[in-house]
Symmetry: C2
Subunit: 367 residues, 2 copies
């Protein structure tokens, strides 16, 4: 394939072919037949009750611990509104999701970046910092198939992080939108499920398991904290989208979601495989990465001295794009880039990596 | 009819019988057939494009001036996030919508309350204040079928307010969710449509013309300001609910909305008539009010000395409820109450007013 159009490894979003419009049509029809009043009223600021019940059952928590929101970014922002005051210290991973960093920064948080390893956040470095007297209010962690790094937090580190949270009394914000997208099907237990001291707030979303346009996410945490976040939600938008949440609830209760997750997983696994294969053939050893075991993203480190801002400009000329690494860190990342394989087919991946390799050759020759 | 259940004049929401679930089922089906990709993707932070186009055409503005949001309360909050800094002066009507007052207060605004007259905000009082050197950044006005006061801003006052905004350089926030609910069908021009100096930001919603559960509202204003609000929206929730906005867009473009508006208007007119009739027969001259020409609300003033907080408690014992006037003002309002007739049928209204009259007798006897 040789397409003149732009190939985008930039957006962390699924291509339209892996979203389920037919199944959602069935769910919309059923939702408006079965519960027209609940679907069309303002409803609770905590979200549509049957959806909260489904989420609560899936995570083995009480319904009072669940707040369904207009997407999980908003869930995080509402949580920050309640928890974070100007000057509060928040630990973030480096690299991390840029919108989360911006939301914390906008609320005046002091950010302390702890590096990611192949098995997730460097818990040893965090522990040393805590023992030196640093006292964060919140530690933000993306445990599975990290955005942008692609890595997964090990079981041992999950346990250590929980123990540290209890000992040093901070909240772990377990930000887990990619949880269901494990290619091998295996799942490590969430920190939420292991938390016996009310130190975890968990967030996830239906953006990756159904489609981003449904804009339904959720927060799970200690009931008093969730009640405080609900009050903030009510003052912001009265209630989240009942129509969308009722359709999503029907999609979940009817079992359509299981098929949707299987379709998405299979497509993403093929795309990851195509990307790794193409990188090996067209770029080779210069591209270092941890193979993601699920999710949307591959984080690539190029040799020291390669500037991915320069590469991005050259790539644009060749009809391919990505997000440069420096967008995801508080400093550095010049030789890194994030390749999202969620929105491109295997054919597009092959062509896109070819173009990327040409752009890389070009900037190396020019240097 | 004599029902033991609670009759609520409290909630400003339609009863389920005046929402259109069947038509929305058709719209959902069509939306997901015609534009599955656009309906299910993240989309623009400014909202679903075909919906923005419909709104822009209806108001005679450019699409760049329209931001579709998750309900109009959130539209206002995003606007306040962009415009209002702690210590900024904001003029509000007295009485006004309690959630707007809270949102301004949470953002540190200084509130100056200007009384409402039968024909809307006391523009003369506002003008005197402005000439005394008071310089508000924003003036919040609910022009049509006011919540809670039921009154409508006269044409002359709209023109004076616009002239003052241009002269004293403040933004008029024209908060207009009830615009379509005129019982006589007549409409005064919006201040937005008369604004030739970029001093008006307009907000409205589909909560009253379709149903609250769709949670779709919008903001119209000068394009640079709308772009700033859009940036804030993106950082808060990436994009608003595309699924709901696509369904609403289909509902609008197909013409279903015209029938829905007619149904709602007719039902609300009957309910207003039933309420006024019942108040006359059961309470009489002690209840003073301006007859609303549209919308959801009747604002009642009882004789001086009647405490509607006390009345609310007594009413609860009789199985009827409302919102007391003091919730809508910065001070005072003790003898006022808001009766929402949107969520109750004419039969329920008759029974509810009977109960209210009994409660009123009771507290007068006890006094």
């Amino acid at each position: 394939m040789s397409s003149p159009g732009l190939i985008s490894f930039a957006r962390g979003a699924p291509s339209a072919d892996i979203t389920p419009p037919e199944a959602l049509r069935r769910s919309a029809d059923a939702a408006l037949r079965k519960d027209p009043a609940g679907t069309l009223a303002y409803g609770s600021g905590a979200g549509y009750a049957p959806l909260r019940e489904w989420i609560a059952e899936r995570h083995g928590v009480a319904v009072e611990q669940v707040l369904a929101t207009n997407g999980s970014l908003q869930a995080g922002m509402l949580l920050f509104d309640v928890l974070v005051r100007p000057g509060d210290l928040v630990v973030v991973e480096s690299p991390s999701y840029d919108r989360t960093l911006l939301g914390l920064w906008e609320r005046g948080a002091e950010l302390l970046a702890v590096p990611l390893k192949e098995d997730g956040i460097d818990v040893g470095a965090l522990e040393a910092t805590l023992e030196a007297g640093v006292a964060p209010k919140l530690v933000h962690v993306i445990p599975n198939f990290h955005n942008p790094a692609g890595c997964t937090l090990s079981l041992e580190k999950r346990e250590r992080l929980l123990a540290l949270a209890a000992e040093h009394d901070f909240i772990v914000f377990e930000d887990d939108p990619y949880a269901e997208l494990s290619f091998a099907g295996e799942r490590l237990p969430t920190m939420l499920s292991q938390d016996d001291s009310a130190h975890v707030v968990y967030a996830s979303s239906f953006s990756k398991t159904i489609a981003p346009g449904v804009r339904v996410g959720y927060l799970i945490g200690p009931a008093p904290l969730i009640a405080a976040v609900q009050e903030k939600a009510v003052n912001t938008y009265i209630s989240p989208n009942m129509l969308a949440q009722s359709i999503v609830a029907e999609f979940c209760h009817s079992g359509e979601i299981l098929e949707s997750i299987e379709n998405v997983r299979a497509a993403l696994r093929d795309r990851r495989d195509a990307l790794i294969d193409a990188l090996g053939r067209h770029i080779g050893d210069e591209a270092a990465f941890v193979v993601p075991k699920g999710g949307y993203f591959l984080w690539v480190e190029l040799p020291e001295g390669v500037d991915t801002e320069q590469l991005l400009a050259a790539a644009g000329d060749h009809g391919v794009t990505f997000v440069k690494g420096s967008d995801f860190v508080l400093g550095g990342g010049q030789n890194a880039l994030r390749l999202a394989y969620s929105g491109v087919t295997p054919d597009e991946i092959e062509e896109g990596v070819k173009r990327l390799a040409k752009a890389l050759e070009e900037i190396k020759t020019a240097a």
